[in-house]
């Protein structure tokens, strides 16, 4: 029997939880069909997390592509189908998109090693300067920090996931949630996750209070790493400082929990527990357009 996961019309980090709720309870080897026919839009998080969903399955899931031409065209330009065709059995017409013809800030890019991090940082720098200063009205000084943050969250995959993941960066108008433009970095993997990664630290006490939420608190808030090296654990701390400086949001989901550095414009709880399980780690950085006091 095939379990059908119906994608919501708008797929982002919040609505992706509906997909995981549908997935909960399905054994790892169950046959899945991801039904995206009625999907109209997806954020970088939604697209990269979908690839992770397929990567985590023992049996290649089916994928019914969106019916709307503009949706399927955008997903193709974002590079989704280029990677999805290796992970899903695709059902439906998929347009061929040539690389570098896209208006996506950084198309979905696999991250498996340090060279990939160099590649994405190099590609993002010029585009990021243009987007941050002109579209988001953020100081040009933010550009380097943006690339640093991108680098550090991508390295999280290389250092901790134990398998490859994906990154995507895009800017768009967040009409309903904020009424402003935002730029988002989504970095998702289906690897070890924070809890298992930290459990590999020698001497780690795994008691009944140790769970995904505790692991996220240690890694994201306290900068704990699985390595004994005292210089480790600075990457996410740096990302936290960066989003704080530019009124942004950092959200990290792993296993059954999600922790977030929540700015004043958002009402998500800082810690969500007992979510539907999902392997690996999914990091989302959101930097909003800057507004003057009179524009608020």
């Amino acid at each position: 029997m095939t379990t059908v996961l119906t994608l919501p019309p708008s797929l982002d980090e919040q609505s992706f939880e509906q997909v995981l709720d549908q997935l909960a309870g399905a054994p790892p080897d169950a046959k899945l069909l991801v039904d995206a026919r009625h999907a109209r839009w997806a954020s970088p998080y939604g697209l990269t997390a979908l690839l992770c969903l397929a990567q985590a399955r023992e049996v290649k899931p089916g994928f019914a592509v969106p019916e709307a031409d503009d949706t399927v065209s955008y997903w193709a330009r974002a590079g989704f189908f280029r990677h999805a065709e290796n992970l899903f059995e695709l059902h439906g017409q998929v347009p061929r998109s040539r690389q570098h013809e896209s208006n996506v800030l950084l198309e979905i890019t696999p991250i498996t090693g340090s060279a990939d991090v160099h590649e994405v940082v190099g590609r993002i720098q010029q585009k990021a300067a243009q987007i941050l200063t002109h579209e988001l009205k953020i100081d040009a000084k933010a550009t380097v920090g943006f690339a640093m943050t991108l680098s550090e969250v991508c390295q999280n995959i290389v250092e901790h996931a134990g398998r490859g993941g994906w990154v995507m960066v895009q800017t768009y108008k967040w009409a309903k949630r904020l009424g402003r433009r935002v730029v988002q970095i989504a970095v998702c993997d289906a690897g070890l996750g924070f809890r298992k990664s930290l459990e590999s630290l020698p001497g780690r006490i795994v008691d009944d209070r140790w769970d995904d939420a505790a692991a996220l608190e240690e890694a994201v808030i306290r900068g704990v790493s699985r390595f004994r090296d005292r210089g480790r654990g600075q990457g996410l701390a740096g990302a936290r400082r960066y989003v704080g400086r530019w009124d942004g949001k950092l959200s990290v989901r792993s296993g059954t929990a999600r922790i977030a550095i929540v700015p004043s414009w958002d009402d998500e709880p800082p810690l969500a527990e007992k979510l539907a399980p999902f392997p690996g780690a999914q990091v989302l950085v959101t930097i909003p357009e800057r507004v003057t006091t009179s524009e608020r």
Binding site: S114, H118, G122, M148, Q155, Q234, G235, G238
Partner: protein, 187 residues
């Protein structure tokens, strides 16, 4: 002996790729540090290296930890087997974000060259007393523990401790019981 080390050149040599202009990722940082260490081995036991970041576009936290902090830590911890000193040149505010974070993490400091060649300032984690002692040594061109203690009107034992930390952190050179600011040939 003074050695000039252009970090962007070292980066290209270390990763064998002309396309990399950013100091990002730990493996890259470790490779760059190893290359710097290899260059330092070519010079005498006591040497001054100018580590030049002028042509480095960006550095992330992981790379700053590998290139800067791990280069300096063996000296600060008293575990280095040579007597090298370092001045960091071309460190922009963009670079400083990452470098400051790793210095704070490890509780260390470094010498940064100002806009004028030879004009250096310690930046990073230092106590007010250590900063004051460093300033006195700079003003005097070279100073003993008693010179600094007298100028600051503090007990010589306290100042001796502060100067020793500054020496270990490669912020002051020490010879014949006198301290001198690294790279400044005065007095």
């Amino acid at each position: 002996m003074m050695r000039h080390i252009d970090v962007s050149t070292v980066l290209r040599q270390a990763v064998a790729c002309d396309l990399y202009s950013n100091l990002v990722t730990r493996p890259t940082g470790a490779a760059v540090r190893a290359q710097i260490r290899a260059l330092l081995c070519e010079v005498p036991q006591r040497s001054l290296a100018v580590i030049d970041f002028t042509h480095v576009q960006m550095i992330d936290y992981s790379c700053a930890d590998e290139v800067v902090a791990k280069l300096l830590l063996p000296y600060a911890d008293g575990e280095a087997d040579d007597d090298s000193y370092f001045i960091f040149r071309g460190v922009s505010e963009d670079h400083w974000d990452a470098i400051e974070a790793v210095l704070e993490r490890h509780g260390i400091a470094m010498l940064i060259e100002g806009t004028d060649e030879g004009d250096v300032m310690p930046r990073g984690v230092l106590t007010a007393e250590q900063r004051a002692a460093w300033e006195v040594v700079r003003e005097l061109g070279g100073a003993s523990v008693d010179d600094v203690a007298g100028r600051l009107e503090l007990a010589p034992e306290r100042i001796a401790g502060a100067l020793e930390v500054l020496h270990r952190q490669r912020l002051l050179m020490k010879a014949d019981g006198r301290y001198r600011v690294v790279g400044v040939a005065r007095g």
